[in-house]
């Protein structure tokens, strides 16, 4: 007993055995493949089908109603396999080619497939090789080589493996090795497209003439359809170019982001790609971890969360780029949904962990120490910053940011030091040092505040503060701060040394002078607040002095000394005399002046 299938060939119905049906289908498919691309291919197929129907018709009768495998084999034997078809024209072409050089026949554009026939793992390398016409061995060597660059080769391979379809059918295998995608073929397709457009344009011209002659509603519609198609074609052409370019960009940036992300997560040194945007500070995520996470659980959770939340869009970028360039398709839409779900799971994980870490910052406490200077102190005190004490390696990066983070031998250096000068109701000069920190309880916070290492020194009337505070690694970063309040009674004066620019923060004064302009000046506490008695520090006063100094500078004769040495440029010139002096001064005690002038000071 056999199952039969009902088929319709050239409008005639036949019952055919299931096995015979699949043989016939395959046969017609192979003919379609051969003639599908040639001119009139459709017609050839229809004619052949008609002939097959005719032959089938002769085979069936009232007693034999079903087409069997034998019948189909017989018909195929009569018709012959497509490669047996003897087409004089085709022969002429190939013999011509044989005379010159063996050229690859044009088989339509090449597509990117994995090659199952010559695979080592997933056939990705051989697929890439086919696509670019390079020996797969070379591709394999390249892939193995980039495995050593942060393992990105493995990831690239896995991504390609996942998103590239395997060449299963013969036609896919042909497409895989199809017409080379090179400059020539691109130029060819562009010129074809341009030719099309030109034809369309000419056509449009004719249409326009017709349009002028007879304004018929049907014709008008036709004209606009053509116009619309014409514009559509131009847009399509432009989009194709933009798309390909965009695809390349996506792949380049996706690859860069992926490398940065992996590097940061694994703590492979300083990954400037991720964090160092603009003038921000450079440190690796791994370094931040050390000072933020109290438990390895948080660390792991955040690492995984970051990998998912940042990694998926990056991989999506890579996938998008590859899709645009090579035209590969996602194996299943379920994967897309799964990946989206995973991304949200990553967000949730980050939020939950972030919330837990946030709790460790929830309470703030402070430790206050206060003392007064002896009454014998001079009427004027000097505030400056100690810039000699710290070893060269611990150089914290200088920035206008809220704080600067830098670790050195299990210690964290923070520049969250704020100094303010206020009025004291008593007759003495008093100094208040407030150490602040956060924690998950007040005790915890107070403990951390206590543990902050901060030093200063007082010699006669000079108050020297450190520009940063130090946090021990085991205390973690919990927003530690040091606030210094220097309280002076009316009539006393404070001189803000220019190095104090590192720590002074929003000091109130009568002229509303900003911090940077307060440096290098004497400020006396008056009834109304701090006032600069010997200079006009109001906005207009500062402006007038700036103008005057500019005028002085412009009156100076300019000496064109750079002509003597054409190799030197003005921008790279360094005042070596002062630098040398500094180095000499501090090299004896093995210390180094860490801080260049914090602000430009206008005297």
């Amino acid at each position: 007993m056999n199952k039969t299938v009902t088929i319709n060939i050239s409008g005639i119905i036949f019952n055919i055995d299931e096995g015979a049906y699949s043989t016939l289908k395959q046969y017609l498919e192979s003919i379609k493949q051969k003639f599908g691309t040639t001119k009139g291919g459709e017609e050839i197929l229809t004619d052949i089908e008609a002939r097959i129907a005719e032959m089938f018709h002769e085979k069936v009768s009232d007693t034999k109603q079903v087409i069997s495998q034998v019948d189909v084999n017989g018909v195929i034997a009569i018709m012959g396999q497509p490669e047996q078809f003897e087409d004089p024209e085709a022969e002429a072409n190939t013999s011509y080619n044989n005379d010159t050089a063996h050229e690859e026949p044009r088989r339509g554009p090449r597509r990117f497939f994995r090659d199952p026939d010559s695979k080592i793992i997933g056939g990705v390398c051989s697929g890439v090789g086919h696509y670019f016409g390079i020996d797969p061995v070379i591709i394999r060597i390249i892939f193995v080589a980039i495995v050593f660059f942060g393992g990105s080769g493995v990831i690239a391979y896995l991504v390609l493996w996942a998103i590239t379809p395997e060449a299963k059918t013969t036609s896919e295998k042909l497409q895989m090795k199809g017409q080379r995608v090179d400059i020539d073929s691109i130029r060819q397709s562009v010129s074809d497209e341009a030719g099309n457009l030109k034809k369309k344009f000419n056509h449009l011209g004719e249409k326009a003439d017709e349009f002028g002659k007879q304004v018929d509603s049907g014709k008008v519609e036709n004209f606009f359809t053509t116009l619309f198609n014409f514009i559509l074609n131009i847009v399509k052409l432009v989009l194709t170019f933009v798309g390909k370019f965009f695809g390349i960009l996506l792949i380049i940036f996706g690859g860069l982001f992926l490398l940065s992300l992996i590097g940061s997560l694994l703590g492979l040194g300083t990954m400037s790609g991720m964090i160092n945007i603009g003038d921000a500070n450079v440190f690796s995520l791994a370094e931040v971890y050390e000072f933020i996470f109290s438990s390895s659980y948080h660390r792991t959770a955040i690492t995984i969360g970051l990998a998912i939340v940042c990694g998926i869009p990056v991989l999506a970028m890579l996938y998008g780029g590859i899709k645009i360039l090579f035209g590969v398709k996602m194996p299943s839409s379920k994967i897309g949904a799964g990946v989206t779900l995973l991304w949200f799971a990553g967000i949730v994980l980050m939020l939950l962990t972030g919330f837990q870490i946030g709790k460790e910052f929830s309470k703030q406490d402070k430790v206050v120490s206060q003392f007064s200077l002896p009454p014998s102190t001079a009427d004027t005190i000097i505030i400056d910053v100690n810039d000699e004490l710290y070893p060269v390696d611990a150089e914290p990066e200088i920035s206008d940011d809220y704080f600067v983070l830098k670790s050195y031998e299990d210690e964290l250096f923070l520049t969250t030091v704020e100094l303010d000068v206020i009025e004291n109701q008593n007759d003495s000069i008093s100094i208040k040092i407030i150490q602040e920190a956060r924690g998950n309880s007040f005790d915890d916070a107070a403990n951390r505040a206590e543990n902050i290492v901060y030093s200063y020194s007082i010699t006669n009337n000079r108050l020297t503060f450190d520009p940063f505070l130090i946090v021990k690694k085991e205390d973690l970063f919990r927003n530690q701060k040091v606030k210094i309040k220097v309280a002076i009674p009316q009539g006393k004066t404070v001189f803000l040394d220019k190095t104090s620019g590192w720590i002074i923060y929003d000091i109130k004064n009568t002229t509303r002078t900003r911090d940077r302009y307060m440096l290098n000046n004497y400020w006396t506490m008056t009834e109304d607040g701090l006032d600069c008695l010997n200079k006009d520090m109001s906005r207009n006063g500062i402006r007038a002095r700036k103008k005057a100094s500019r005028e002085r500078a412009s009156k100076k004769p300019v000496v064109p000394n750079y002509k003597a040495n054409p190799n030197s440029t003005d921008s790279t010139k360094i005042d070596t005399s002062t630098t040398a002096a500094y180095v000499q001064k501090f090299s004896s005690v093995n210390t180094y002046p860490l801080f260049p002038t914090p602000f430009t000071v206008f005297g």
Partner: protein
């Protein structure tokens, strides 16, 4: 050198001439043409004919009309166009030349 290949190429060269010659006598539908070609062992598989007919038709050498059939789908009856006729004549004279050329060479042996 494959003898079968050479034979096939020789056949292919004159196939167009033969088809045009058959149609010169009468209009015919593919099965008629096939029978004649098969009788003279000029064609091995029937599939060869269809692409050829389509191409000749597209080149304007042939034209066809539909005719209902009692045994199967409607048939395409092909006939020569004016262009086809002159093409056929030209091929015919070149065939005569070839034949003479071959004979001349052989008789010199």
């Amino acid at each position: 050198m494959n003898i079968e290949n050479t034979k096939a190429q020789m056949r292919k060269g004159i196939l167009e001439l033969c088809i045009l010659s058959i149609l010169e006598k009468n209009e015919a539908y593919p099965s008629d043409i096939l029978n004649e070609l098969k009788d003279s062992k000029l064609i091995v598989v029937e599939g060869t004919l269809y692409p050829l007919l389509t191409r000749l038709k597209n080149d304007g050498l042939l034209t066809y009309r539909w005719e209902e059939s009692t045994s199967g789908p409607p048939r395409k009856y092909f006939q020569l166009t004016e262009l086809g006729k002159s093409f056929s004549n030209e091929l015919d004279s070149s065939w005569q030349d070839l034949q003479k050329a071959v004979q001349k060479i052989r008789s010199k042996k």
